[in-house]
């Protein structure tokens, strides 16, 4: 999933302090799971904003809506009838949701309420860690299912650097060396032959280096 973290409320207030009608817009998917932008967080932010405005003595309205997703037309259309009445929307979906909301509601300012961090997993409640950087040409088949693009600090594709020590990365002793993990796993699945194999240069044009990307699937287009 896409992992996000809550923005400090003061940063959000700075954006909307002069607004009169604000909509806090949550998302039921990734950001709900990482407890940054779901219905519950919508409630907390909206409540805090309502009290902030009341305390300033300004008459204001802060509404709360949480959509199934903010990255699909059909769900974002659900606020079509209501959107016009707001002079700001705070989207607490990931950056994708914030942008799609802004695209759709062109004349209404849309502000991000979270910092979108990475594609990752819930290791345990309250701990999310990165697993993928959407490089566009997945090499997990050769690396024992462990991604050196996202998990090696230097994005090395041919084994560890000299800084790997006792299974940890030289950037921090809390960070596993991705290549240690890869080798451990290749051994476990008896595929150390993959470590010896030479691969051609990775096509980084499929990554961000090639500019904004698209996936086009004519077979599923309507």
């Amino acid at each position: 999933m896409i992992v996000a973290d809550r923005k400090p409320i003061e940063e959000i207030i700075e954006q909307v302090k002069d607004c009169k009608k604000v909509l806090v817009l949550g998302c039921n998917e990734c950001v709900t799971v990482c407890e940054a932008g779901g219905k519950k967080e919508v409630g907390v932010l909206a409540s805090a904003l309502r009290m902030y405005y009341a305390n300033k003595g300004v008459d204001n309205r802060v509404d709360e809506i949480t959509l199934e997703r903010q990255c699909d037309h059909e769900y974002l259309e659900e606020i079509r009838e209501k959107a016009d009445q707001y002079d700001a929307i705070i989207s607490i979906a990931c950056g994708v949701g914030v942008q799609f909301t802004a695209e759709k509601y062109h004349a209404i300012p849309v502000f991000p309420g979270v910092n979108t961090c990475f594609l990752g997993v819930t290791e345990k409640r309250g701990l999310w860690t990165e697993r993928c950087q959407a490089c566009g040409q997945c090499i997990l088949a050769y690396t024992g299912g462990i991604c050196p693009v996202s998990r090696c600090a230097k994005r090395l594709l041919n084994g560890p650097c000299g800084g790997s020590s006792k299974g940890k990365c030289e950037i921090s002793k809390d960070t596993d060396c991705a290549w240690q993990l890869i080798i451990d796993r290749l051994k476990a699945i008896n595929r150390m032959d993959l470590y010896e194999k030479l691969f051609s240069i990775k096509d980084w044009s499929k990554d961000r280096a090639g500019g904004p990307r698209k996936v086009i699937r004519e077979d599923v287009m309507i």
């Binding site: 519950k40 805090a48 009290m51 305390n55 003595g57």
Partner: protein, 116 residues
């Protein structure tokens, strides 16, 4: 042991303090409460293991939010006691009551009243 505690304290019973979320505390202030305190079991003695630790973290979050929006984080507090310790319960109630009396009414409530 029929001990008295301040009549301003309204008790809301929850199965475990771990049930109390930030939003519950904020809503209480939105609805005009002057202070909120959570009384959990002693640390390390939670029946559900971590409920009271979670409550403490959430109280801290609520304090931060209330400070940011100018309501004042001092209006929320976490207390721990053993469930049979009535004198301590009363002591905490008095302590919180005094603190809130010192801080005065919830500013949001005052402003809303003025506006109405």
């Amino acid at each position: 042991m029929r001990l008295n505690y301040p009549a301003s304290v309204k008790i809301i019973r929850v199965p475990c303090t771990g049930k109390v979320d930030v939003i519950h505390m904020l809503r209480a202030f939105e609805k005009g409460a002057d202070g909120v305190y959570i009384v959990g079991c002693k640390e390390g003695e939670c029946h559900y293991k971590k409920g009271n630790y979670r409550a403490r973290k959430r109280v801290e979050q609520a304090q931060k939010i209330l400070n940011t929006i100018g309501v004042g984080g001092d209006r929320v507090q976490m207390y721990n006691l053993s469930s049979s310790d009535a004198p301590l319960f009363v002591k905490y109630a008095n302590e919180m009551n005094e603190r809130i009396m010192g801080l005065g009414p919830n500013p949001v409530k005052l402003k809303k009243k003025k506006a109405a």
